[in-house]
């Protein structure tokens, strides 16, 4: 069966890459990319239709193309991308409602894949250490992208009830990182000095953009249905990530965090919503057992590797490089009249080699 896939949100990096990847798949005959503005990147064999998912035109697009699968990637994560919080909410919530309304009418639609986010779990001190897909969040997100995503998921559930014949896949992603994806976390780590919350160290997880897109592809092509957490294996502490990136950081006392967040937000460098501050305070870790077992997918990049790849490709400004630290270690070792552990190990290896 030749399939027709409609992808929303192709004007941005992840959406356009996804559409291009799907267009290479032999089982898929047509890929239609939809967005308000044309994609900035080359989308190869993807047909682009300029349509706003916020108005009923999308219904005509669906019926005229006869798409059987809809991949919804049109939810955006920062107001910087949308040009303001009001526009962002409009795109995320109203856009999803219109798209789902159109899908409900379209007889041809068989499968809906939604790129959601793990931020719908919120983060707080009363949450269990790891979220499974069935964990009830203790602190529902109150603002920004996370709140939009909670609403998006509730509309998706309502859609699934009204069209039980349509398979629905909801993918809850940890923060995307990679050479190109612009996400709240990539903007955060690009700050000249990274602000943290004094007395807290969040547990973080990342998903490399290659792995993230592969999961969406797998779900789309193989038609896996259900809700899945998606994150790279393992955990990095926020302080550890800052050290790995060699960044300078400043610990902001709890009561002043809101103020500093406001400055960063107003400067337009990065979205520093209340929700993101909570995330950077308490962190969030996903249980990805279902991804491994039911989807049979193991991300190629662990959380630490995804972060390393991001740091390498972005060329983040190093305040303290690993080499500088090593040379200080050697200097201290000399001053104390000894060798560093690494040198001693090398020396003993050489000794063994000499004897052999």
């Amino acid at each position: 069966m030749s399939r027709v896939v409609l992808v929303t949100g192709v004007s941005r990096h992840l959406g356009s890459r996804m559409a291009r990847i799907l267009s290479y798949d032999p089982q898929i005959s047509r890929v239609i990319g939809v967005d308000v503005v044309p994609p900035r990147e080359d989308i190869g064999g993807v047909e682009f239709i300029r349509a706003d998912i916020r108005n009923p035109v999308i219904s005509k697009v669906l019926s005229s193309t006869g798409a059987d699968t809809v991949v919804h990637m049109g939810v955006i994560s920062t107001p910087v991308q949308a040009g303001g919080r009001a526009a962002m909410k409009e795109i995320n919530v109203m856009g999803t409602m219109q798209l789902l309304a159109a899908c409900q009418r379209a007889e041809s639609v068989r499968h809906l894949v939604v790129k959601s986010t793990a931020s719908i779990y919120g983060s707080g001190p009363k949450d269990p250490a790891m979220f499974t897909e069935d964990t009830q969040p203790r602190s529902l997100p109150q603002s920004g992208w996370a709140k939009d995503s909670v609403e998006v998921e509730s509309y998706v559930r309502a859609f699934a009830r009204r069209r039980p014949d349509v398979g629905v896949t909801t993918l809850r992603f940890a923060n995307f990182l990679g050479p190109k994806a612009d996400t709240p976390m990539s903007a955060y780590f690009a700050l000249p000095i990274v602000p943290t919350v004094l007395g807290h160290d969040a547990r973080l997880q990342f998903i490399h953009e290659d792995d993230g897109l592969e999961v969406i592809r797998l779900a789309t092509v193989d038609g896996h249905v259900g809700t899945f957490n998606v994150a790279g294996d393992g955990v990095l502490m926020l302080s550890q990530a800052i050290r790995l990136a060699g960044k300078a950081s400043i610990a902001v006392p709890g009561p002043m965090v809101g103020l500093v967040g406001g400055w960063v937000r107003q400067s337009g460098i990065s979205d520093f919503s209340a929700e993101q501050i909570r995330f950077l305070t308490y962190g969030r870790v996903l249980d990805t057992t279902r991804l491994h077992e039911r989807l049979g997918f193991t991300p190629r990049f662990t959380t630490a590797e995804a972060f390393a790849d991001f740091v390498q490709h972005r060329g983040l400004h190093y305040a303290i490089s690993a080499e500088r630290v090593e040379s200080i270690e050697r200097g201290l070792a000399r001053a104390l009249g000894t060798a560093t552990k690494v040198e001693a190990q090398i020396a003993s290896t050489l000794r063994v080699a000499d004897h052999a």
């Binding site: 007395g199 502490m237 050290r243 962190g283 060329g315 270690e329 090398i346 290896t349």
Partner: protein, 335 residues
């Protein structure tokens, strides 16, 4: 070390640079000044005394070990588990700071460590006392240093712990997590040793006149967890912690002001200021009791509240009886 890191030194020991970290350096980074590089004397290192013999070599090993540890800390080259447990930091820094307290101040005697399995999950249930939770730290150290399998104790704490700045961060890094069923079951299923103090703040904050009297055991949630994961419950009785800070009174307005569960008054606190925080040097005994096995009960018995209450009472009684027995055995609080 991977062999690859040896290569730059192989020829004439020229000023080759190497990257140990998994994060490669971007081009924008200024290259380290060659003047900073101190040439290692590999000739001497490879031909002279092997390290590890003689007192000086041992000191050198310790110094090199700590420098290596500090470098990996500064560059982020270490691993934490999904709960945020930083095993190396805990061993070196937290437990390292507690070792002299354990050995010389409280002179802790750990009994019955053979009742704690060398591998697999088990639930450690102990009495809680002493105003500041030193008893939890000492139990963690006893199991880590003195149990033959060097087991890490993963404790379950109140949400208050995890929302308090510094304390929450510290607790996560030391391997502890929120007292809730999913976390406890996940740890036990992973074969970890889980510690619970069912008396909670009622236990550590109780007045001195009620010393060694077990408080109410909450809702017995720990029994349900043990039944569901079919792991043994090991009752632990800790003697000595009650006398570290004899709690004579509780100033409730100050507790409310500082958002604490209680504000204790001891013979020396708050009268001596920070000096009043020094615990009295009581002699401690931590006794790990006979395990109570839960695998003989049918699956689903965690849903039988009567069984849960009975088991909870059995654990409580066992700890209380052992406490009374140890108290009659000890001659003095101090030695």
């Amino acid at each position: 070390m991977p062999d690859a890191t040896i290569l730059p030194f192989s020829d004439d020991g020229s000023r080759a640079r190497r990257s140990l970290s998994s994060v490669p350096m971007p081009e924008a980074t200024p290259a380290p000044d060659p003047a900073d590089y101190v040439e290692p004397d590999f000739e001497a290192l490879s031909q002279g005394q092997p390290t590890g013999s003689g007192a000086l070599a041992q000191v050198n090993d310790v110094v090199a070990d700590w420098l290596d540890f500090l470098r990996r800390r500064v560059t982020g080259d270490y691993v934490v588990d999904d709960f945020g447990f930083d095993a190396e930091l805990t061993d070196r820094v937290l437990l390292g700071a507690m070792r002299p307290v354990y050995d010389s101040w409280f002179r802790v005697e750990a009994r019955g460590l053979e009742n704690v399995p060398a591998e697999g999950g088990a639930l450690i249930v102990a009495n809680h006392s002493g105003t500041i939770a030193f008893d939890a730290l000492m139990t963690q150290l006893a199991l880590h240093d003195h149990h033959p399998a060097h087991r890490n104790l993963r404790m379950l704490g109140a949400d208050l712990v995890f929302q308090t700045p510094f304390l929450g961060e510290f607790a996560r890094k030391a391997g502890h997590t929120l007292a809730c069923n999913p976390d406890a079951e996940r740890l036990l299923a992973d074969g970890e040793l889980v510690g619970v103090w069912p008396e909670g703040f009622k236990g550590i904050g109780k007045p001195f006149r009620e010393r060694y009297k077990l408080q109410r055991f909450g809702r017995g949630g720990f029994v349900g967890t043990a039944l569901r994961t079919r792991t043994p419950i090991i009752p632990v009785s800790i003697v000595g912690a009650e006398e570290t800070y004899p709690n004579l009174g509780n100033i409730k307005p100050l507790a409310r002001l500082f958002n604490l569960p209680y504000f204790p008054v001891t013979p020396i606190f708050p009268w001596l200021g920070p000096l009043g925080l020094i615990p009295l040097p009581s002699k401690w005994i931590i006794e790990f009791g006979e395990p109570i096995h839960t695998d003989e009960y049918a699956p689903g018995s965690a849903d039988d509240p009567m069984l849960v209450f009975n088991l909870s009472d059995q654990v409580r009684e066992s700890i209380q009886q052992n406490l009374y027995r140890i108290l009659t055995e000890r001659d003095s609080v101090w030695k």
